[in-house]
Amino acid sequence: MEMLNAVFVAPFVDMFTYPAFFVEVLLGGLTAGVMYSLVALGFVLIFKASGVFNFAQGVLALFAALTLVGLMTGTIPFSQNSMSALALPIWLAVIATGGVMVGLAYAIERVVLRPLVNQEEIIMFMSTIGLAFVLEGVGDMMWGSDVKALDVGIPSGSFEVNGVLVQVFDLWAAGIAAVMVAFLAVFFQKTKIGRALRAVADDHQAALSVGIPLKTIWVAVWSVAGLVALVAGIMWGSKSGVQFSLSLIALKALPVLILGGFTSIPGAIIGGLIIGVGEKVAEVYWGPLVNGAIENWFAYVLALLFLMFRPQGLFGEKIIERI
């Protein structure tokens, strides 16, 4: 009886007794959710175009953030030395890093993807695991493995509305994510490229036979995924410093994708928000019952439940297989 009370009654009583605190928890969850969504977006893009879970997406974000910091501080690649004379202003460094990500997309298409045309998806997936390790190693060699601060001038600080503390940075993160999603949604869903992407993901050979330029599509998609990774890298880096654990955050994107559906851009956002809010609320209100740390596994349990009852996610395409 006491147990039932602690699980089903007391947490809700708490929520209504201290609404301001509850709203703050929600906001914190939404912020974390936006960050997850940013990483998950990159996954969705690659998945839409190749049917492959890109294991390297987190490392892509890390690599982008490392490059950005390196350029901003004038670090000479591979030497660990920096010259302040080489330091680029923020806007130039961001553009240059964007250029690096597009160049990287070209290289990935040429070296990793092209030789694997028409291969099983699992083989492509394995190649992205390899890519993740290579990129992480190269990032380490080029820019060093120490934790770096990243400040691109996103305002920090906070203000109070009706007793609720709001972080300015969080609002910026939400705004940036919203703009990016709007852009991607229009670009990929309202244009012919959307149908071409689905075609490429479905069957390489058939796509080639109707004249879809596989190469161009892949470079375009990996470039966009690289740029999304750059934005994610900037946001995460500004919040908690550029460090190699960033690549692990990518794993949190997996439950987000299972929730939202692997092929849906809005799904990545909604999934991210649900996971972010869910794990924060669970941690604060139910965490004490099991001595905390719910945050670490909550997302995965939620994903498991989804796999049982709605394997295609909230917005994903239903997979149909005739046997």
Partner: protein, 272 residues
């Protein structure tokens, strides 16, 4: 229907000519020095026992495989190899032995992918178009309507109205083959390559498919090259037949000439 009774005209103009094509995978020689041509407006069959190199030949023609030796002349332009993107752009469409459809998409969407190339030329311009479409939804929608009309005509032609919105992964095999043909037709090809269009079909479905092939050739003047194992179908449909065996050409001529050829009979009956 024999070639004699057929009212349509074959101009004698060569649409595609392959010369001395050799293709090998490591030590395996799939095609050895094969030459033949395809005339504009004809139905050309490629036959031969399993492993003769028929599908490899189609793959060479539409640029999936790049032969080590030989020349391919298409519409007067000679190349040592085709590129699949160029082939598609210049009007070569094809179907596959094991149906290669976009299984998650509806019949309609599959056919619409066949229209993807009906835009302006050039990767740069296409990208610009896509960006324009992203910003101004009006023109994109208008073009979509135009393409859709063409596709609806093809759906009528192939009598697949009922499965317009059905995801093709759910369709029975015979209908999948028909949808795949539809996607190839949607490209408005000049040369249509069909890899075993009747494989796995029952008699009625074969009859339908034959009718579509003849109508396509007759009404739209599409040149067709097809691989087929059903000899009855080959003899009825085709104007000329090329026979491959172990990667070599052993005969080339009208159905009657080929079926009387001793080498062909031996190859099919396994006499060496």
């Amino acid at each position: 229907m024999s070639a004699v009774e057929n009212p349509r005209q074959i101009s004698g103009e060569v649409l595609l000519n392959v010369e001395d094509i050799s293709l090998s995978f490591g030590g395996v020689k799939a095609i050895r020095g094969v030459s033949f041509n395809i005339l504009k407006g004809e139905i050309r069959a490629i036959i031969g026992p399993n492993g003769a190199g028929k599908t490899s030949m189609l793959n060479v023609i539409n640029g999936f495989y790049h032969p080590q030796e030989g020349k391919i002349t298409y519409k007067g332009e000679t190349r040592s190899k085709m590129r699949s993107h160029v082939a598609a752009k210049q009007g070569i469409a094809r179907t596959f032995q094991n149906v290669a459809l976009f299984k998650g998409m509806s019949t309609l969407d599959n056919l619409m992918t066949g229209r993807l190339l009906k835009q302006r030329e050039g990767i740069l311009q296409q990208t610009v178009d896509m960006l324009l479409h992203a910003v101004y939804l009006g023109p994109a929608k208008r073009q979509e309507v135009v393409e859709r009309k063409v596709v609806e005509e093809i759906i009528d032609f192939l009598e697949i109205e009922a499965i317009r919105k059905t995801p093709v992964g759910r369709l029975p095999y015979g209908l999948q083959k028909r949808v795949e043909l539809g996607r190839a037709i949607a490209m408005e090809p000049e040369l249509l390559l069909l890899d075993e269009p009747m494989a796995g079909m029952n008699l009625e479905e074969k009859g339908d498919m034959s009718r579509f092939i003849i109508d396509l050739n007759d009404q739209y003047g599409t040149t067709i090259a097809l691989i087929e194992h059903d000899m009855g179908v080959v003899m009825d449909l085709s104007d000329r037949v090329v026979v491959l065996n172990y990667g070599e050409k052993i005969a080339d001529g009208t159905p009657n000439e080929v079926s009387a050829n001793q080498d062909v009979i031996d190859a099919y009956l396994g006499v060496s």
